[in-house]
């Protein structure tokens, strides 16, 4: 195997993950991509989605991130996420509730044309759906 590198996942409030891993797959804005040890320096924007981590023992961890950024340089990888939760930690009820709220907000605002609020509602709708999918997936 290619060996491990250090992965750190931080949110504005705390550090969620900090350990050596073997590989990580991320939801890039343009496409999903994987990172192994020795990856060329990269800065990428992330969409809301799943981050799949394979650690040194080959065990897999899935996390839901609410969008953010990824940086890898000189053997260190860092995810700056708006939010990050382990798939086992996701509160499915809350996510479902958030989905309903966002959907109703979207439905009510179409004619007013408030682009900014619309974008936000769409983003939170997407986040809520992804949370549920990841929680349900495994």
């Amino acid at each position: 195997m290619a060996g491990t590198f250090n992965l750190q996942i931080v949110t504005p409030e705390s550090e969620v993950f900090n350990a050596p891993v073997e590989s990580v797959t991320l939801p890039g804005m343009e496409a999903r991509f994987g990172v192994l040890r020795g990856h060329a320096p990269l800065i990428a924007a992330l969409e809301p989605g799943a981050v799949e981590i394979t650690d040194a023992d080959g065990a897999r961890t899935v996390m839901a991130v609410g969008g953010g950024f990824f940086q890898v340089s000189s053997g260190n990888a860092m995810v700056l996420a708006d939010s990050a939760e382990l798939s086992s930690e996701i509160n499915v009820e809350r996510a479902a509730e958030a989905e309903r709220r966002a959907a109703s907000r979207l439905a009510g605002q179409i004619d007013e044309g408030l682009v900014l609020q619309r974008e936000r509602a769409e983003a939170s709708l997407k986040r809520a759906r992804i949370r549920q999918r990841i929680a349900g997936g495994r």
Binding site: P12, E13, F33, L42, A45, Q71, L80, S83, L116
Partner: protein, 317 residues
């Protein structure tokens, strides 16, 4: 002339007050510690965020983003951050006095806008700020309450969205924030800062002189210079300008978060100091009152004795 009983009652009252102030002091200290820990936990994120902006900026030559738009100023938004509660010394009055003066100055500078927009939008955070400006009939456009040590990040995001929203929708051309800077536990400084549009970051020190004209956000560095300025050749995905475009809103959000947490820390610092003083003053007062009580009691005894002796003398004679 107060009787011994009155004084004793007063002592009890002061004792009770000092117990309350003591408790409030400890609560404030604990909360201050929590805020500081929280800020500490968020450090890796905000630091890396700033790093990213620093790495990206030199790679972007022609860049415009709604958050950077400099417009002629016809209307301003002012955010005032104060506490929900009092009993924190001069924390609220200092920041509100500063904000009040600042708002009046801005109002004079702007005058009446020609395009019929509201010249001033005030956004308040904290009940004290809201009440203060409502009472004085200032146009408080929006207000947020109870942002404290444990406020979830989503709520901060909502406040941040409201702040950037009025700028992005063109309701205002500049946004200022009046908040209290946390220096130490016993020293806080109220100040007002220009928040939006974002000032382009200063020229990167490490950028080579070759990139003549500076490598600032809007600087005209040589076309296609790539990541020459940076210590490493980064791959950007998507391209640097788009990446910066998605980075900036988050950058602003973390700024709001930092400012809010700093204001909250200042509040608890101020309350801690105020309550320490209050507890000390209560102690002093108890001492004085005890002395007075003892003196009054002694005076009473002496008076009674004199009366008895006087009475006995009168009977004898």
């Amino acid at each position: 002339m107060a009787s011994v009983r009155d004084i004793k009652r007063k002592i009890r009252v002061v004792k009770n007050i000092s117990q309350i102030t003591q408790a409030m002091k400890m609560v404030a200290a604990a909360k201050l510690r929590r805020v500081q820990e929280r800020v500490q936990r968020g450090k890796p994120y905000s630091q890396t965020m700033a790093e990213l902006v620093g790495t990206l900026a030199p790679n972007v030559k022609e860049f415009s983003h709604p958050l950077l738009a400099v417009r002629p100023v016809g209307a301003v938004g002012i955010v005032v951050i104060a506490a929900d509660k009092g009993l924190c010394g001069s924390y609220n009055s200092n920041i509100l006095r500063l904000a009040h003066g600042f708002i009046d100055r801005k109002t004079r500078e702007i005058g009446t806008p020609t395009d019929g927009r509201q010249p001033l939008r005030i956004l308040t955070i904290g009940r004290k700020a809201t009440d203060y400006f409502n009472r004085r009939d200032y146009p408080v456009t929006e207000s947020f309450l109870s942002i404290g040590a444990d406020t979830p990040y989503e709520q901060v995001r909502a406040a941040s969205n409201a702040i950037t929203g009025m700028f992005l929708t063109g309701q205002v051309d500049e946004v200022y924030i009046c908040y209290t800077e946390f220096i130490t536990t016993i020293s806080q400084r109220p100040q007002s800062i220009k928040f939006l549009p974002i000032e382009p970051p200063a020229t990167d020190d490490e950028a080579p002189a070759a990139a003549a004209g500076g490598a600032s956000l809007n600087g005209a560095s040589a076309a296609g210079s790539g990541a020459r300025g940076a210590s490493q050749e980064f791959i950007f995905e998507p391209e640097a300008p788009q990446l910066l475009g998605v980075l900036l809103p988050r950058f602003v959000e973390t700024r709001v978060y930092q400012i809010l947490m700093e204001a909250v820390a200042s509040e608890f610092g101020a309350r801690m100091t105020a309550m320490t003083n209050a507890t000390k003053n209560a102690g002093d007062q108890i001492e004085e009152l005890t002395l007075l009580a003892n003196r009054t009691r002694q005076a009473g005894i002496t008076k009674e004795l004199l009366e008895i002796v006087g009475g006995a003398e009168a009977l004898k004679g």
